[in-house]
Every structure is written in C-alpha cells, then in structure tokens.
C-alpha cells in the first residue's frame, strides 16, 4: 500500500501550492499516472479519499490521466511503446529495453476556488 504514502505526497504538493497561491479548496485534481510507475490507480483513489477530509482536497474530483509506457530498445535503437516492464520489444521481440517514459506520478493541475475577498459578493 505505498499508494497511501503517495497520496500523502500528493497532498503535500497540493498544500504547498495552496500556501503559495492562497486558495481554500480544490475542486478538481488532475494526476498523471505512468503505466510503468508501479501504481494501482484504485488503491491511490482509495488512499486519497481516506486522507482528504479536513484538507483542501476534501470533496475534490480526482481525474487520473494514464500516461503510456515507453522504452528505449537497445537492439532496435528506437523508442517503442510498452504496456508493462516485462514485455518484450514489440518491434524486434528482444528484452533489451530500458523504460524511458510513463514511469512517473505527477500532479498535473488543480482547479481551485479562492476565498472571496469582496463581502458584497459573498451571497452570490
């Protein structure tokens, strides 16, 4: 369940942004999860749900964008698409691959709501 630590890492990134950008809550959180990043998306969602209450992430809609895995095939000397680390090169069948993309978990962007500064607008 390293997804719980990763959820904590996501919250930290978001809270740092909240301090910097002064927003009060996140409406939508978009994550980019690499296919080769070793992350179970359902577990990550579960972990985010568990830690969100009481934070700026409470009630946030979580959008997960999957990033395709890519690898450099040393035999073909070309970049190829793979779906798992154990897969052979789709072009030449060799196992001489070095993962180059889709290995990361990133916080892409946030749609946030600010506290309204103008009291006249507060009932709007």
């Amino acid at each position: 369940m390293h997804e719980l630590s990763l959820a904590g890492g996501i919250l930290r990134v978001v809270e740092e942004a909240a301090q910097r950008e002064r927003f009060v809550r996140v409406k939508r959180l978009t994550l980019a999860v690499g296919t080769l990043a070793g992350i179970e998306v359902d577990a990550l969602r579960f972990a985010l749900d568990a830690i969100a209450p009481g934070t700026v992430l409470a009630g946030a809609d979580v959008v997960v964008e999957s990033e395709a895995g890519t690898a450099w095939c040393l035999a073909c000397q070309a970049s190829v698409a793979i779906e798992a680390r154990a897969e052979p090169c789709p072009a030449c069948g060799s196992g001489w691959l070095q993962a180059t993309g889709g290995t990361e978990l990133r916080v892409k962007d946030l749609v946030v709501e600010d506290a309204c500064a103008d009291p006249a607008l507060q009932l709007g």
Partner: protein, 319 residues
C-alpha cells in the same frame, strides 16, 4: 447537476460520482459543514493552477542529499529489498560477520527497516556492528528522510565502509523510493516462486543485483533457477545475479567480492569528485562487472553511445 463539482451536467462528461461528497449526508452539507470546512459564501472565483510536479520529487531531493552525504563519507550504501521471509536478515548477519572477519577495520553500519519491533536490529548488533532500527509504523517502505536521519546516528571511520539498508520486507513499494543508495540488491530465495521477477517487475527493474538465496534447499523445492534468471533479465537486461546460501556459506565469495568491487568504486568516485557535488550514479547500474559476456557489454556501450547522441541531438533541437 452536482453543484460542488459540476459533475452530472448534461454538457459535461458523466462520471461515477466517486469523489466522496455523496456521502456527506445531503446536498446542503456540501455547502456548510462538509469536509471542505469552508462555507459557500467564501467560494466564488475559480481558476486552474498548472503544477506538473512529480510526487516523488521531495523524496528524490532528499535521496540526492543522502547520496552526496554517503559519497563524502566514502560509504557504499546498499539497499536490500525482498519479500518477507527471504532470509534477508540471516544473509545480512552472515555478510557482516564475514566482512568483519576479512577486515576488522572496515566501517560497517546497518539501517533496519521494519513496521514494528527491534528484533532485526538486535540480531545485527549481536555481531558488533552498529544498527539503527527504523519502525515505519503503517508505512510499507523506508524513505530517504528516514535513512538520512538514521545515517546521522551511525559513525563511520574516515576510510568509509559499507552501509546496509535493510528495507521493509515488501517487493512492491520500496521499488519506488530512492534512498540515495548506490545499488538496490533484491534477495529472492528459492523457497519462493521462480516467477517472482515477472510478478513484481518494478523491484527487479530497479535492482542492480539479484541474490538467489537458500540455494542449499534447491534439491527440496520446485524452483527453476534458469527461469528465475531469465525472467529477471526480461524486466532488467542489466541485472547481475549471484547464487548463495546464508546458512551453508555457499556462493559467499562472489557476493563479498561484488561488495569489495562496489566499495572500491565508491571510494574511487569520492577520490575523483572530492568537491562532493551531486554526481550521477546511474552508471552503477550500467557497467556490467564482467557478468554479461564481453561482446554483449561492448554492444551495450555502443548502443548507449548511440542513445546519448540521439538525446543530445533532441536536446539541441529543443533549445
């Protein structure tokens, strides 16, 4: 339409409403006492903030600091990873005993990671080697901050030595956390399945060396060594493999000479990069130590050079 996030709007894509506010006990709670703990009047403006921030970046920065720290102390840090029950602690204790026997002045230290208890640290301390136990609580892995703090509590002689980090027994999570180690060493015992490298590819992809442990039990178990090695190479063409038994001592010479070689390399590095800048350790995983056949190693170097040239060209083009 849900007023908090806009989902369910005919104009937007429908989705499963899995983001939790359905459980807040009715629409009104969205606005007042919901988990957001902000009241509706306070929310009006909405904007998008682009972050593109790697979630593991904070850990990676601390790991880079650890790596620099280890280098400055001429310490070879090895991150031992495996499933629970692979015999990792027994292997470590036997390794420490033999290293001590071979060179009583060699600096040695251990960081023991477990969710609970200090049993393993006590086993290590019984050999006379100092050990810091890190209890991760509910955590399933060590992170760079824990290792950095633990390392500060260990004393190494000026000549440096070897730091063994025994990670929490888990073949999944520790793969993602860089601790600043020179190499991850994955221990796989023959009493486990020979398919494990394919079942847990991230760990074997991240490891520089796979130790096949408990080989004295091979006659009694169904474990195809060749298959395990082939599977490990499939996820990581560069992984080195050594076979040994911590109880009989078989294969230990190979393991000890691997450590000696890596240690010499770590000290050499320090010698040449005295200013302690953050030098790139990626080549630790690249050079083959003569284990793959020489022509394969040569071909690899050639292929890597081509790759470097290609990347440089791409970098040049993007400027």
């Amino acid at each position: 339409m849900c007023i908090v996030c806009g989902c369910g709007d005919a104009s937007g894509p429908a989705h499963g409403h899995d983001h939790g506010h359905a459980s807040e006990g009715g629409e009104l709670l969205h606005y007042g006492e919901g988990p957001a703990r902000v009241s509706v009047p306070g929310m009006s403006q909405e904007r998008t903030i682009r972050l593109e921030q790697s979630v593991l970046a904070a850990n990676d920065r601390l790991a880079a600091q650890n790596r620099q720290h280890f280098g400055a102390h001429r310490v070879l840090a090895l991150n031992l990873v495996s499933s629970p029950g692979s015999g990792k602690t027994t292997l470590l204790v036997e390794t420490l005993r033999r290293l001590r026997e071979g060179d009583p002045h060699l600096g040695l230290g251990v960081v023991e990671g477990d969710q609970q208890t200090s049993f393993d640290a006590e086993r290590v301390r019984a050999t006379g080697v100092p050990a810091v136990q890190v209890n991760t609580g509910k955590g399933c892995h060590l992170d760079a901050q824990m290792v950095g703090t633990a390392f500060d509590r260990l004393a190494f002689p000026a000549t440096g030595g070897v730091l063994f980090i025994e990670n929490v027994g888990n073949l999944v999570c520790p793969a993602l956390w860089d601790l600043g180690e020179a190499a991850k060493v994955a221990v796989l015992s023959v009493t486990e399945g020979d398919e494990k490298p394919l079942k847990y590819p991230d760990m074997f992809a991240a490891a520089s060396l796979m130790l096949l442990n408990k080989i004295d039990l091979l006659p009694h178990v169904q474990f195809d060594v060749e298959k395990a090695v082939a599977f490990a190479r499939r996820v990581n063409p560069r992984i080195q493999v050594l076979r040994l038994s911590a109880t009989t001592g078989a294969g230990f010479e190979g393991w000890l000479s691997w450590i000696a070689h890596e240690l010499a390399h770590a000290r050499h590095e320090t010698h040449h990069h005295h200013d302690g800048h953050d030098h790139d350790h990626d080549h630790d995983h690249g050079h083959g130590h003569g284990h793959p056949p020489a022509d394969a190693a040569e071909a690899e170097v050639k292929a890597l050079r081509a790759r470097v040239a290609e990347l440089e060209a791409r970098l040049g083009a993007s400027r």
